[in-house]
Structures are given as C-alpha cells and as structure tokens.
C-alpha cells in the first residue's frame, strides 16, 4: 500500500489496534467477572457529604451490546482494509467500488445513452426525459454564468435564447463551443485611434444598418481598422467570435458610452472547456435543448 512506507508502521497500527481491543475486552471482563474495588471495603467512599457510587452490576444486555459491536468490528477489519497494510478479505477499495459503480452504470444506462447519439436533434427536442435531463445539465453547469433562464448576464455572458450566436448556431458549432471552450478578444484601440476617433467609430457602429451611417466620420476609421474582424458591413465573423454590429444586440451594452468603452479598452470573453466535465451524450442533450 502506497501510504504505508514500511512494514514497521503497518505493524505499529495493527499492534495499537489489537492491544487496544484486547484492553477493552479485559476491561469488560473485569467489570462483569472481576473483583470490584469496594467489594472488600466495608463501605463505599462518600464525597461532599452525600455523594457516593453504588455497586450494581452492569446489566447483561450491555454485555451483549458491546460484545456484538466488537464482533462486528473484528469481522469488518477482517473483510475491509483497516489493519495497517492488510487489504482485507474482500479486497475492497474506494477505487474498486468506484469502478464497480461505473461498470453498473454502464450496464444499466449505456444502451439508452448510445441510442441518443443516433437520435436526430429534432427528435431529442420532443423527448421529455431527454429535455428535462438537459435542463438539469444546464442548471448545474451553465446557469451560473448564462442565468437560470439562459438569457445571459448583461455586460458579461451572452444570451442563449436569441438568434445571435457569437460562435455560430449550428449544432456542430455549439458542440465545439461547449466541448473546447472559446476565447474572444477585442483589443484596446485607444492608443491607436485616440479619443476623437474612438468616439467617431462608436457613433458609426451604433448607426450601422441605417442609410445615414456611411456619411459619418467614423466610417473611414471603421473601414481601416475594424473590418478585418467585424466585416465591411459589420456583420461580424463567427470564426473569430467577432460580434455582429449591425443588429440591436449588444453583449457589452449599446449606449454611446458602453460602445466607446468597448473600443477604447477592449473586451475579453471566455467560455471554458467542458470536455472534462460533460461527456458527448451530455453535450448532445445540451445542444438539442439550446437549439430546440
């Protein structure tokens, strides 16, 4: 056993446990069958004028109680690891129990879970057991950031109930997002553009989609610095997680001040990878629930 560096320490533990148990047994036999200290005395001692101890025998049921407990304990220590490095007759370990539970889980649930992998998303979305499982998965794993209602949190985490998906809305893209996570970076532009131009671009971006937009001074700046990620018409780029700017959905706020702040100081968005926490079936359930 890895936690027992030498036989000496194992022997120490076994010795302590056995000596202790033997001591308990001797004590119990002494209590039931031994001579009592004040049996030879004419009278029991009296403390504090009227405090004394009776000499009633311990009840027999108590003898059987402690005997039964000790027999159980000795048997337990024979069957399970306890006495130093002795592994116990059952060769039980936390790890073996864990593996056994996994095997049982696989036997009972794997057929149903494998069937899910073959079921189309549209069908899954109609399956009440699958959808309630997905809702539970969302509540335990996603709701802390995206909210219990999946509508996100202002200025931090995207709303998942609208049509605007930063990294794409196809099942494959969402699967990728959940599995591997995403990192979005909007770099800070203040030092490059200066305050004046940041304001101009912000005004332009907020006007995007209206006919007057192209007449604004920010248009030229946008065309020079922003189109690489956000596209010429501001419709964004899902490969980079660059948001669409020509709609009215603003992750970090749509007011002039909010947009200026996003441009001046930049933004970073991080979706962690859930590959270690959720398996493919869990993720498939979540994708079906999100795209239902």
């Amino acid at each position: 056993m890895a936690d027992m560096p030498t036989d000496f320490w194992s022997g120490w533990i076994v010795g302590l446990a056995i000596v202790g148990f033997a001591g308990l047994v001797m004590l119990i036999f002494g209590i039931y069958f031994g001579k009592q200290p004040h049996e030879e005395a004419a009278e029991a001692p009296v403390w504090d004028s009227d405090l004394s101890e009776g000499n009633n025998p311990a009840p027999l049921w108590w003898f059987w109680l402690i005997l039964a407990l000790m027999v159980f304990c000795v048997m337990y220590l024979m069957l399970y690891p306890g006495l130093g490095s002795y592994a116990g007759a059952l060769h039980w370990s936390q790890q073996s129990q864990y593996e056994q539970h996994h095997a049982e889980f696989a036997t009972v649930h794997d057929p149903a879970r494998h069937a899910l992998a073959e079921t189309p998303y549209a069908t899954l979305a109609q399956d009440t057991v699958a959808m309630s499982s997905a809702a539970r998965l969302f509540a335990d794993n996603c709701a802390a950031c995206h909210g219990a209602d999946a509508k996100g949190q202002h200025n931090l985490f995207p709303n998942l109930r609208d049509s605007d998906w930063l990294w794409g809305s196809t099942p494959e893209q969402i699967t990728q997002t959940i599995t591997a996570g995403r990192n979005a970076v909007m770099i800070p532009w203040l030092s490059v553009l200066g305050e004046e131009k940041v304001k101009q671009v912000a005004s332009y971006v907020r006007a995007l989609g209206t006919p007057q937009a192209d007449d604004l001074p920010g248009h030229a700046v946008f065309m020079q610095f922003c189109i690489a990620c956000h596209g010429a018409d501001g419709s964004g780029n899902q490969l980079l997680g660059a948001p669409r700017l020509n709609d009215n959905i603003w992750l970090y706020g749509g007011s002039q001040a909010d947009v200026e702040l996003s441009i001046a100081k930049g933004r970073t968005g991080q979706m962690p990878s859930f590959a270690g926490r959720l398996d493919a079936t869990d993720i498939r359930l979540l994708v079906a629930w999100l795209t239902r």
Binding site: L27, D48, G54, W62, L65, P81, G82, H109, A112
Partner: protein, 495 residues
C-alpha cells in the same frame, strides 16, 4: 470538637468565581444563539447580510460555533469544574487567583476572538478558526485551568478521586493536546498563519481535533458535569461504579480514533477511515452505559422529577445524549455516510447533541446550582417549567427539520433517471429546502426564547444577593488522606 481528633481552622470553598463563570456562560448562550438564529434566517432570506462582509454567512457562522463551544460551553465547564472539584476533594481551590485569571482571561479571548472572526481573521480550520495570537492565549488560559484543577486534586483530603473529576481531567488534558497539535502553524502577519500540515495530513489532524473537541469537550466535559450534579441533585448514589469505570475508559480509548469518519471516501488512506468507523461503532457501548447509569441513578427519585425543572432538564439531556450517541455511530458507517455527508443531517445531529444534550444538562445544572450559590429559592419554578417545554419543543422541531432536509438532500442528490442523468439540479434541491429552513428558524427562535427566559429567571434569583460562604465538611476518617493533616470544621454556615 465532637470527637474529631484534630480540628483545623475554618475553610471555605471559592464559589464567587463559579458564579461569575455561570453568568458569563449565560451571556454567551444568549448572544451566540442569537447569532445562530440570524444564520438560520439567512437560509430563509439570503439577503439578510445587507451586503456587509461582517454579517455574511461565512463570517458569522464561526462566531456562532465558537461562541457556543468556547463561550457558553467552556465557561460552564470551568465554572462547574471549579465548583465540583473543591467539593469532591474537600479542599478550597488551588491558587484561587489563578482561577479568577482563567475566568476573565477566557472571556477576553472569546470576546476578541469573536470580533476577529467578524473582521475576517480565520485559520479556516473548522472549530479552530481563531488565528495564532488567540491560539497562544487559549493555551495559556488552558494551562492555568489545568494548574487550578489538578492542583486542587493534588491537595485533596479524600483518597479516592470521584468520577466527575476523571472526566473533567480528561477534558483538560486531551483538549490541551488537540489544541496545540492542530494549531501548529507558522505566523506570517498578526492575522494570518499557515498550518504546518498540508493536504490529507492537514485534514486528518483537523478532524482528529474537530471530532475529539466534540468528544472530550462537548461530551467528556459535560459528562463530568452530569456525574457530579445528577447524583447530587437526585440525592442518590451513582447507580453503578462498574459502569462508570467501563464508560470512562472505553469512551476515552475509542473516541480518540474516531475523527477520520468525517473524511470517508476522501483522499486519506482507507485503513484510517475503516478504523475510525469501527471505533465510532464501539463508542455506542460506553455512551449508552453512561446513559443507563444516569437514568438508573434517578430511578429512585422519580417523584422529584415531577416537580423539579432542574432534574427534568438533566434527565431529558440524558435521553438526547442517548439519541445523539446512537445517531453518531450510524452516521460513521461508510454506506450511511455516503448519503448523509454534506447534508443538513449532520447539522441536525450536531444540534441534537448541542441543544438536547449540552445545553439541557447545563440548564439543569444552572437551575440547581445558582439558587444554592446564593442560598435562595429559584425566582420562578413556573418560568423554569415553561422553559423546559420550550427547550424540548425547540430541540425536537430543529432535529426533525434537519432530518427531513438532510435525508431529502442525500437522496435527491443521488437520484438518477433512465438516461443515467441526475434527476435534480442542485438549485432545485436547494430551493425545495425552504420550508425545512423556515421550520428550523422557528425551532431556533423557540429554543432561544427559553434561554432568555432562563437568564431572566436566574438574574432575578441572584439579584442583590451575595454568594454564600460554604464551610468545607470533614472527610470520613476511613477515606482521609494523611490523617495527621488538620481537617476543617464540619458545618455549613452562612457568613
């Protein structure tokens, strides 16, 4: 002279320090239970911290536990130990000024310690949250406590040492050992230190401390209280000397192993878990031996039980002691623990011990002790009887609420649907707990109102009165240590 051979000067017990400790104990009971109520309310209305750090759950929870264990519990234990050790040794306290130091220094530690917890100082070890300056202060006071207690035993005039002193002695020695070993740490700043242990070792040391603080303070210490005050009040001898002996040694031996049952299915070695589980089971026997011993001791004084609230409290505390010491070993079993661990069942178990056993045995003892310290009748027996009903109802409702909550949590968390997915999210289970938490708050409020009532009752009892000076009675010749030593005059008198 009454044929008593040699007669010394009149000597009196030191009881003023006892009275002061009883007063502090009641003060902490009222305050720390109020903090507990606030915590219970935060479970129902989570915004009750009003965004204040010092009112947040994480800060006031240790204030509640430390206030109860060290404020209420230790003050009561010190006071009753000082009271009973003099009487069972037939001498005044050894170094009475040191006893006064214990009394006041301890209150300063509890008060400043509580404030430091509110300020966010914490070593993060459960029930040992106080930071290193307090750890040192506790050690100093504890050593002073030991000197007074064992000094009194060493200078005793009666040869046999009464059973209550064995338990108080075990309390002092074992808590000193646990406190020092668990708090070995490297100070960094005044409010921060790092433990000498790390990882699994740290966890084992912490729960060796944590569970034996329950064992030797909340159980052993209060058993000392029980073994003195129960027979004294019932006017009967302890039923069986043999059961006392077996319960003391089997209890002391088994308890010290049991701590790691708090760490089932964790990164600590399996043999540590198994031995802890096995020893926890064995503990059932000495615990029930004590319970039987106590109940049989009262059995010849049943009529007194009808009319005397103090005795009712002590007998009821024995029933809860029996319940909690049955539940504890069950929860220590691996497979039961797999369901119960991290649930409110643990909180219920702790409170069946803390409310049902510790608080009730202390209440019974104080109802007995305080009137005797001032030589008056209790101000109102009727109030004490109402308190008894409130304490019983509060404890029962509290335990029921937490059993229901805990077992539901354990089972709902483990529930799996046909797809092998968990049936319920953590949030769903959490929000379904609201009625249980509300019931717990209600139960706590009932229990606390009883404590307030008792404080008023005791305050009215002692108001304007002085602590009696009690003469030390002589020891029967047969049990006297060193017969040449002068014996005090054997009359109780009011001075």
């Amino acid at each position: 002279m009454k044929g008593n051979g040699m007669l010394g000067e009149a000597e009196y017990y030191h009881d003023k320090v006892v009275m002061r400790l009883v007063q502090f104990s009641m003060l902490w009971a009222v305050l720390a239970m109020a903090v507990g109520l606030w915590l219970a309310a935060e479970f129902v209305w989570p915004t009750l911290d009003f965004g204040q750090f010092w009112l947040s759950f994480g800060r006031i929870r240790p204030v509640h536990t430390n206030g109860i264990i060290f404020g209420f519990g230790v003050s009561a234990l010190m006071g009753t130990a000082f009271y009973s050790v003099q009487r069972t040794s037939h001498v005044p306290l050894f170094m009475p000024k040191l006893a006064w130091f214990c009394c006041y220094a301890w209150q300063v530690v509890v008060l400043l310690g509580g404030l430091s917890l509110l300020a966010g100082w914490t070593s993060t070890k459960e029930y040992a949250e106080l930071e290193w300056p307090f750890d040192i202060a506790i050690t100093v006071v504890w050593v002073a406590f030991a000197i007074v207690f064992f000094g009194t035993i060493a200078t005793r005039r009666i040869r046999p040492i009464y059973i209550s002193n064995w338990f108080y002695g075990a309390l002092i020695i074992v808590i000193a050992m646990l406190h020092i070993v668990n708090n070995l740490e490297v100070p960094v700043t005044i409010d921060k230190s790092y433990s000498l242990y790390a990882g699994a070792q740290d966890a084992i040391v912490e729960w060796w401390y944590g569970h034996n603080a329950v064992g030797f303070l909340l159980t052993g210490g209060f058993l000392g209280m029980l073994y003195y005050f129960l027979p004294k009040h019932a006017g009967q001898p302890i039923w069986s000397y043999r059961l006392s002996v077996v319960s003391f040694w089997a209890f002391t031996y088994s308890y010290i192993w049991a701590g790691p049952h708090h760490l089932h299915y964790s990164a600590i070695p399996e043999w540590v878990q198994s031995l802890a589980m096995v020893m926890s089971l064995v503990l059932l026997a000495p615990s029930w031996a004590t319970m039987v011993n106590g109940i049989m001791t009262v059995s010849k004084a049943w009529p007194k039980l009808k009319s005397d609230p103090a005795l009712k409290f002590i007998v009821l505390s024995l029933a809860f002691y029996g319940l909690a010491t049955f539940e504890g070993p069950m929860l220590a079993i691996r497979s039961v623990n797999a369901v119960s661990h991290f649930t409110d069942w643990t909180i219920g178990h702790v409170h069946s011990g803390a409310l049902g056993w510790n608080a009730m045995v202390t209440y019974g003892t104080f109802y007995y002790l305080v009137p005797r310290l001032v030589g008056r009748e209790l101000y109102s027996t009727r109030l004490a009887n109402i308190h008894f009903v409130l304490a019983l109802a509060g404890t029962l409702l509290y335990i029921l609420a937490m059993w229901a909550a805990g077992i539901s949590q354990g089972l709902l968390w483990l529930s799996v649907n046909t797809l092998g997915e968990l049936s319920f999210s953590f949030r769903e289970v959490m929000s379904s707990m609201k009625p249980y938490y509300a019931l717990r708050l209600f139960a706590g409020a009932i229990f606390w109102s009883g404590t307030l009532m008792m404080t008023y009752n005791l305050w009215r009892t002692i108001k304007g009165a002085n602590v009696l000076k009690v003469l030390i009675p002589p020891v029967p010749a047969r049990w006297r240590i060193n017969k040449s030593v002068a014996q005090p005059v054997g009359v109780e008198a009011q001075a």
